[in-house]
Symmetry: C2
Subunit: 122 residues, 2 copies
């Protein structure tokens, strides 16, 4: 049975909150032990919660996430659009795609963003 | 070699244009002969251009697509956010996820939308 859609929405809300609070341990705890993370899409996925924790430890503080729409949730997966604010001068348009296990943990995350484009803040 | 990112952006632009013009033949021609379509995510994918053409023949006219951000393009895949206007009274938040072959044809499309949610137009 797929994870509950409302639980998935709550987890995504917490993910954004923890990212913006630079709370690396809490982010890592949202992931399953054997989860994968591919950021950006096309790179070799990281495997396992410890590797994923290391990724976020390096990333937080440099990125603030601003949702630009509601998560689209279907059958234990979700896609959600964001602006990633990189410092005060650049915005990157991102869509994160996550799959969840029956316990509502993230089992895979794929971050879609155009490696050839970011937009200056006006 | 992955499809060119700018070609992918153009194809997505045409896809939205053809959808809003109810041009079913042109939509189908954007797909590879053996492509798959899963709409919404979690349903059994349709396989092959003819089945895909039939899907769009039934859908166009009822849906107008309004992009709500730029496509996020990486490594021959793209995700892009939209509002789907269903008649004049409902908006559905959608993210389409497409993969492209080396010739720039769509080889898979997965439509993420929350089957439990649509929003009334205020």
């Amino acid at each position: 049975m797929a994870a509950n859609s409302d639980d998935i929405r709550k987890t995504i809300g917490r993910y954004v909150e923890f990212m913006n609070a630079s709370d690396v341990d809490s982010i890592a705890a949202l992931y399953a032990e054997d989860a994968t993370l591919e950021d950006p899409v096309g790179t070799e996925p990281l495997r396992g919660r410890e590797a994923i924790r290391g990724f976020y430890a390096a990333a937080v503080g440099h990125v603030k996430l601003e949702p630009t729409g509601n998560p689209r949730v279907a059958a234990g997966e979700a896609a959600f659009p964001m602006h990633a604010h990189l410092g005060e001068t650049q915005i990157l348009e991102i869509i994160d795609l996550m799959a969840f296990n029956d316990d509502g943990q993230i089992v895979s995350m794929r971050a879609f963003w155009s490696t050839d484009q970011s937009q200056p803040v006006i």
